[in-house]
């Protein structure tokens, strides 16, 4: 079995989600909460939609213009949290952010998202790798209001 630390595998994960983003495309449905995430320092510009059903994240959608890192990290995020409870999603988010900011994290729970474990080495890309995730965080907060 190939190791999760194999750069070639991690690269394939990112390219796969960049070239074939999952859950991409917005829906015209008022039951979704929506936020525009627009990087102030670069071009990344995604609309994120999340449908909550009580405590559950029923669907995650996104669309817009973004680089490979931003697109693939958002695609992976959408697959990871879809169908999860908010508490489960929060745990995934916390671990992802811990990984990005070089704190302790559980690689198991992050599945394919570990492809972004080296983001800190290209510090200016942290905003790309977190844009979609921060959109989810905002919408989870909004759903509590």
């Amino acid at each position: 079995m190939r190791s999760l630390n194999d750069p070639q595998l991690l690269r394939e994960i990112i390219m796969d989600h960049y070239e074939h983003p999952r859950n991409r495309g917005l829906v015209d449905d008022d039951s979704y909460l929506k936020v525009n995430m627009n990087s102030e320092t670069c071009i990344d510009d995604l609309d994120i939609q999340v449908k909550f059903n009580g405590d559950k994240i029923e669907d995650v959608r996104y669309d817009g213009e973004a680089c490979a890192i931003c697109t693939s990290s958002t695609s992976i995020m959408s697959e990871l949290v879809k169908g999860k409870t908010k508490a489960e999603a929060q745990k995934i988010i916390d671990n992802y952010m811990n990984m990005i900011y070089e704190r302790d994290y559980d690689p198991e729970i992050l599945e394919e998202a570990i492809a972004f474990q080296n983001t800190h080495k290209q510090a200016n890309r942290i905003k790309c790798a977190t844009l979609g995730w921060n959109g989810l965080i905002e919408l989870m907060k909004e759903s509590e209001e």
């Binding site: 991690l10 670069c42 890192i69 290209q122 890309r125």
Partner: protein, 409 residues
């Protein structure tokens, strides 16, 4: 010709600074430039040996500061060939200068229905103030069409001009496409119709001989940090008669000669009426030192060398089949993309080889309407860059497909 090896010794950042484990190759000179030791020393000298306020004290130290500060103004005058030193106003940079012109001159002179002409290639700082001024006074902003390569031509300026045109505000060299505007011809045409010409000199003044009397431009704005000077200092040049007729956008200490409790204020003469508050003294001194350094090398020499460098770069890039160049025949920055690679991703790849280039819209957010691509990479040179650095840059261009390498090194 330039002795670039010798010149590079003057820049601490070119002697030991690394990025991602590689010697820094700095190709983002359109954003800001590196500083030679002589500029650093002049700033430190002020902070260390004579840091008092200007125009204030009745003691030797303050007088010494005054002398240096006013001497700096004279050096700027000489550098841009202005008629008198009172036409030089120190500002915080091009953005500040353009805002002062738009609000201090535009807003007080434009009327309902008047027209301001710009182009889609302008930087945000030569666009947004005009949008706002137009909105406030009922004027309109219209666009001079660029030719098919992205150039501003006199013919298109003439076509765009109407009886309502009162101000033409354009970059002397645009910051993404890098084409020169025929400034002298534009001024001649504009002045024959009573139109004021504002030049954004941010990308031109650092790279070529600037002669405001030759071009006859009415206002010129530029920044110190794009020409080896410190950040936070820039210049607004204006013809003296226009400055006299212009309102300061900031008021306060140092800009007035007297006022009373009834609110009657007598402003000082230009340039002091525009320099309220304690000025950026070490900035002005550093800028003057940078200008002295550049004049020593010679702006003509700098222009020629950069042209040669650019030509070398374009020829090498044109041999690659994975690169789109948007302005092969301009004189400024090289705007390009690596085919199939998002600009931000490509910039990270360059970063991982120690090469600094910019990705994105470069503050020209309506230029995409002309270029038909939303973002580009921009490599911009200065006289301290070398052909060897361009070789390193072109090597990375070839690796475009491996843009994720940056992530897994």
């Amino acid at each position: 010709m330039l002795d670039v090896a010798q010149i590079r010794k003057d820049f601490p950042m070119l002697n030991g600074k690394t990025m991602q484990g590689h010697p820094l190759v700095y190709l983002d000179n359109g954003a800001t430039t590196l500083k030679p030791q002589v500029v650093i020393d002049s700033v430190c000298d002020y902070l260390t040996n004579y840091s008092g306020n200007a125009h204030r004290g009745d003691y030797d130290l303050s007088h010494e500061v005054d002398e240096h500060y006013e001497k700096s103004r004279e050096i700027v005058q000489k550098f841009i060939h202005a008629k008198r030193k009172e036409e030089i106003v120190f500002t915080s940079g091009t953005t500040d200068s353009l805002n002062m012109i738009a609000y201090g001159y535009g807003l007080t002179h434009l009327q309902q229905g008047d027209e301001i002409l710009i182009t889609v290639a302008e930087h945000a700082s030569n666009t947004l103030p005009w949008f706002d001024v137009a909105r406030q006074c009922g004027a309109v902003v219209n666009y001079i069409e660029l030719d098919e390569t992205g150039r501003l031509t006199l013919e298109n300026v003439q076509k765009a001009t109407t009886d309502q045109t009162k101000i033409i505000a354009v970059a002397e060299v645009t910051n993404v496409l890098g084409y020169h505007a025929p400034m002298k011809d534009i001024c001649e045409w504009a002045h024959s119709r009573g139109i004021i010409v504002v030049a954004d000199g941010a990308q031109s003044v650092p790279h070529q001989v600037t002669d405001v009397q030759e071009t006859d431009v009415d206002f010129l704005a530029f920044s110190g940090h794009k020409m080896c000077g410190p950040t936070g200092i820039g210049v607004m040049y204006g013809k003296y008669e226009l400055l006299k007729d212009m309102k300061p956008t900031r008021l306060g200490g140092g800009s007035n000669s007297r006022y009373n409790s009834c609110g009657v204020v007598t402003l000082k003469k230009p340039p002091y009426r525009f320099e309220a508050g304690t000025p950026h003294i070490e900035g002005a001194i550093g800028l003057a030192s940078a200008m002295g350094y550049l004049m020593n090398i010679g702006m003509d020499n700098i222009y020629q060398y950069e042209e040669e460098l650019r030509q070398y770069c374009i020829e090498k890039m044109q041999k690659l089949d994975n690169v789109d160049i948007y302005n092969p025949d301009s004189q400024g920055a090289v705007a390009f993309n690596i085919k199939g690679v998002f600009s931000q991703d490509a910039a990270s790849l360059f970063n991982s080889y120690g090469i600094a280039i910019r990705a994105g819209q470069h503050c020209a957010k309506i230029l995409d309407e002309f270029l038909k691509v939303s973002t580009t990479l921009r490599a911009s040179f200065y006289f301290y860059n070398t052909k060897e650095e361009i070789d390193a840059f072109v090597e990375v261009c070839k690796k475009g497909d491996d843009f994720l390498d940056a992530f897994f090194k």
